[in-house]
Subunit: 312 residues, 2 copies
């Protein structure tokens, strides 16, 4: 039976243990049959660290820089120019301007992103994404990207599964970017990964056919889209949902449903020493958690361990 | 271990047994690890009968008639008028005209369909769909709709699962219409049901929120969309695909992929005595099967039993 050894004694761990005890107690008022014990987890900032920028952003910038390397004309155009010259001020400014209500630079950035993988087969993309994560190092933490997952959250996944839950990732991040590594990092297979994606087209060819990315978005799995994609994929409401950012509010709100118990976990990044200390982009979810009694998990206070020990 | 007792000895049964033996033989050239043994099945005409009209069409017509009953103005407008007066000639004509290149009536029909469940929560829809199938009788076969599943196909699902396969439904039919009955009819839970759907919106309310259908399509899971939705949901290519209609061609073509074995099954409805005898809408897939050596399953020749015995 999986343990929660990396969780310190405290309100968060007690809330988890109490919830699991209630929904698994046959005959109890809050009993939930195993098939309905669905638990959904955001990825960036919930299962792995998302500071100072999401892992996927590094992958996209690498690709944009490669495109600029191959095509001098692109070096004169944003966002390839910024990727080529490693102009992080331009890139970071897109996000800052977006938060201040000016989407002009974000539109330019998104216009580049949508081109980055157009025409690639899904197999090529998955191979490249897997290689990027397996080969990369976190720019601040200095640890392999495959080791930036939160140990207590992986313990929680196993603990829930041992109690009859089925676990899913439901992330705003790109679905096919996560899939090649979720099994080895979290023990979650590709069919249980929900996330954003660009459009994909089936193209007949001599070998039977291929799935190829289009230069258009399909959906961005964030905010109110999250509960819709979760329903689309699972056909059930989750009873446990964990997130860390404002875009996770509807997913957490959707847990349980009328007459059913729910546990909502909000991971708070408040540990400058071991990870990062910032509430940026989480102001709304922390406010909602305080108002509605959602369980806040403090990295600093609730986790005895954050990351796995690295081989010496 | 599940049997294939309802399958007569013959080329189709031999192809299934041979394929399963090859992909499960460790060390063999065609061995496929269990996690990659994905099998996808169309529903209408593959797992249950779709003649003389798909089960879902009856459900939609019932709803349109209810709307017309409640609102006299709708009785003057198509397609509510046809549903209200049971004018099957008008309804059937929409399909005939569509096949002949005239979509004018089909557009009117689709315009009604899209209104039929707009504003319903997914819970209300799933409850109504489940009640319809559990309470209905097939208009020609005279058996409960819950007993129009093909016994040999249900045997095949269990046989594959016993050999480490994971089975999915991938249907052009409405995903949430199938979900409430696939577990009891086929042993396939809602999270393994892929299909068409209208748009769904997350709507906040005092109880946390609800998922509500919009009056707009999201996607129609047929033809080249099928392999895209399968990838979206599973993140792997299937190695076995079964269908019966032209809209299943890309799904069957997508099975396997470069360097991997595949089994493609085409169910042919050629048994007027026990089910129906028609190649309508299947001309293309039968042609492709003949050209590329896909396995054709004759209802008449290959199945010793078609439907389950009913209680006396």
């Amino acid at each position: 039976m999986a343990s929660l050894d990396s969780w310190r004694d405290g309100a968060a761990r007690a809330a988890i243990e109490d919830f699991v005890a209630r929904v698994t107690s046959e005959g109890g008022a809050d009993f939930v049959p195993p098939a309905e014990r669905i638990a959904v987890f955001d990825n960036d900032g919930t299962l792995w660290t998302e500071q100072p920028m999401q892992v996927e952003v590094g992958f996209i910038l690498k690709r944009l820089a490669e495109m600029a390397e191959a095509d001098p004309e692109l070096r004169e155009r944003q966002p390839w120019k910024a990727a080529h010259t490693k102009d992080y001020a331009w890139l970071g400014g897109a996000m800052t301007m977006h938060y201040n209500g000016d989407d002009s630079r974000m539109k330019v950035l998104m216009g580049g992103l949508i081109q980055a993988f157009a025409g690639w087969t899904v197999d090529r993309y998955v191979d490249a994404a897997g290689a990027y994560v397996r080969g990369g190092t976190h720019p601040v933490l200095g640890r392999p990207l495959t080791s930036i997952g939160f140990v207590p959250m992986v313990e929680l996944l196993r603990y829930l599964e041992d109690h009859g839950f089925t676990t899913y990732i439901a992330s705003g991040g790109d679905r096919d970017f996560m899939r090649p590594v979720t099994e080895e990092m979290y023990g979650i297979p590709p069919e249980r990964v929900i996330g954003s994606t660009n459009g994909i087209e089936w193209v007949d060819d001599e070998d039977g056919g291929q799935l190829v990315y289009l230069a258009q978005p399909d959906f961005f799995d964030d905010g109110p889209v999250k509960p819709v994609r979760i329903w689309s994929r699972i056909g059930r409401r989750p009873i446990l949902a964990a997130g860390n950012a404002n875009g996770d509010i509807p997913m957490l709100a959707s847990a349980g449903g009328p007459g059913r118990p729910a546990l909502r976990l909000v991971i708070r990044h408040d540990d400058a020493e071991r990870e990062f200390d910032t509430d940026g982009g989480a102001e709304g979810i922390l406010e909602r958690a305080a108002a509605d009694g959602w369980t806040v998990v403090s990295v600093k206070g609730d986790w005895a361990t954050v990351f796995a020990d690295l081989p010496a």
